[in-house]
Assembly symmetry: C2
Homo-oligomer: 334 residues x 2
């Protein structure tokens, strides 16, 4: 059954023997170490031997020897999966590997705080990007003492202890609320998704709406909504008491518009609605959906450059990176 007998993977010493040189020479050649004096002929012999054996260096042994791993760890759980995040991640990967780093997504979803930090620290990465929620002071300390140069928080709010990539959900809520109030709304509602992965982001967007509503003295109703027809329909009376809704995103906005239509309420006549994400589909609805578009603001190259600065200085003080900008796109639903 087994195609290959369980033979040991070839090492640099095996390559050396086949090429008739010392192991050190193999290392010098394959790493193209500047300053190493090896003849072109020997270089060729070594490369040839490595090829024939299918030699692949042992990353663990290398990090053990050098003390560095070039690994950049990112925990996925706080990343909102969508074309935006996936695309950015892909470019980030490309850019990092161009500079000799290796981007690796390491779940550890169930862990946070020190246990999560210990799991990451085992790999001796050079940088860790993780949700702000799992990077408390002690966790950062664990990473630091394991030699992690850059600890960067990802989250809706900047971390008080380390540099942060801030996904500014609060700003989205602010933008939506100000628009609705400017349009004349005097009683607002804001949707918070009931789904696990979305709720937290919903809370942060809500917080933005809240801030504006309070400042301009407009009543605000929080609506915890599961993504079902029933959930929204059950709140029929609520929709009669408000004249403006921030629906969290376009999907929920479309759900709401369907329900409101069934309930005999006119959009935007009775209720104004704002979504978020600028889904192509949202522009096709009647009325066309007002939404907030998010664009990546920093090029991956700039992001990685900033990361390298952080690696170099490994600052333990907060600073802020804003990876996207929000733009209001006014259509017909508001």
């Amino acid at each position: 059954m087994n195609a290959t007998p369980p033979t040991r993977p070839p090492t640099s010493l095996d390559v050396a023997r086949l090429a008739g040189v010392s192991q050190a020479t193999v290392s010098y050649v394959l790493n193209d170490r500047p300053g190493a004096r090896v003849s072109d002929e020997t270089r060729a012999r070594v490369r040839e031997a490595a090829d024939r054996l299918g030699y692949v260096p042992h990353a663990g042994a290398r990090t053990l020897r050098t003390g560095r791993s070039g690994l950049v760890l990112i925990s996925m759980e706080d990343i909102p999966y969508g074309p935006l995040a996936v695309g950015t991640l892909e470019e980030l990967d490309r850019e990092l590997s161009r500079r000799g780093y290796t981007l690796v997504q390491y779940g550890a979803r169930r862990l946070k705080g020190v246990p999560a930090a210990r799991a990451w620290a085992e790999l001796r990465p050079v940088a860790v990007l993780a949700g702000a929620g799992k990077l408390n002071r002690q966790a950062v300390e664990v990473l630091r003492s394991a030699g992690v140069k850059a600890v960067v928080a990802l989250g809706s709010r900047p971390s008080p202890v380390v540099p942060s990539v801030v996904l500014d959900h609060e700003g989205i809520g602010v933008m939506a609320a100000e628009h609705l109030i400017d349009r004349g709304c005097r009683s607002l509602a804001a949707v918070v998704p009931a789904e696990d992965g979305l709720r937290e982001m919903g809370e942060h967007r809500l917080a933005g709406v809240q801030r504006v509503a309070r400042a301009r003295e407009i009543p605000l109703t929080r609506v915890d909504l599961p993504f079902h027809e029933d959930g929204a329909a059950a709140l029929a009376e609520l929709w009669r008491r408000v004249d403006g809704v921030f629906a969290y995103n376009d999907d929920y906005a479309m759900l709401l518009m369907a329900v409101l239509g069934d309930a005999g309420l006119a959009v935007p006549g009775d209720v104004r609605i704002v979504g978020c994400d600028d889904l192509p589909l949202a522009a096709l609805l009647r009325p066309r959906l007002t939404t907030i578009r998010l664009d990546v603001s920093a090029t991956p190259s700039a992001l990685v450059q900033r990361l390298e600065e952080i690696i170099a200085e490994s600052p333990a003080v907060p600073s802020r990176i804003d990876p996207w900008t929000a733009t209001l796109i006014v259509r017909e639903s508001s």
Copy 2:
């Protein structure tokens, strides 16, 4: 600026010194090695010392010593991101870590074949799950010779060389086509998304439709569609020539329904439409959308168990795992 001076991370030897024992004892205690005879008192002292120092084992050194890494690598690029995949991945992670493995998503998006395999092999993982497209025979050979026990392909078609997790897009196309023809359609169209991440899956779903259409002698038009209103509207005459469309997924189906409505065509009267994914939103449209729902068929625990079998036997012959089952949900649009 630097919070901590660049001091070396603590090693098991540091722990040993603080606890007043040998390094070997530390290893025995912290790994709970059965058969190791260490008094409870010493155990406590070692644990205490490890805690105080914030000791975290060096995964690279451990891998070097033991020859195994417990790392399970999965390449993300061929995974269609959505609630289904993300949820499955999360449970997979949980289940694997329960058994002492570490799931890691390693991009290497830009690479395929041998170069990709070399990048993965450096980490000396115990298993690699990657898109069937990047696992040619030589790549598998590289992984094998680097000690990778289980090589598993992910893709729409089973790999001819290794066990595969088959995301059966073709089956989806078959299901949609048979339904439409059974409903009386005599001229079909199938949408293939023009977006990079989706096109390939679209082609496979199309292949399923094609097979059925050919067998039942029904003409079929392939429609390469970007996700814009314009894209679909530009094909206005096309929609008059067909009476059944498989729209690739619910998003495209909704796009189509909007466009067809504007063009004065009735659904399902003039054109029948089938989507896929069973989005909650799709059930709210008028007419309600007929769709295909995908459910994970194998529990993560069963999947991991199968993976462990593969690790144990490391077979180099194809076999097949079907991670989902498809169910047709007939509503009003067909």
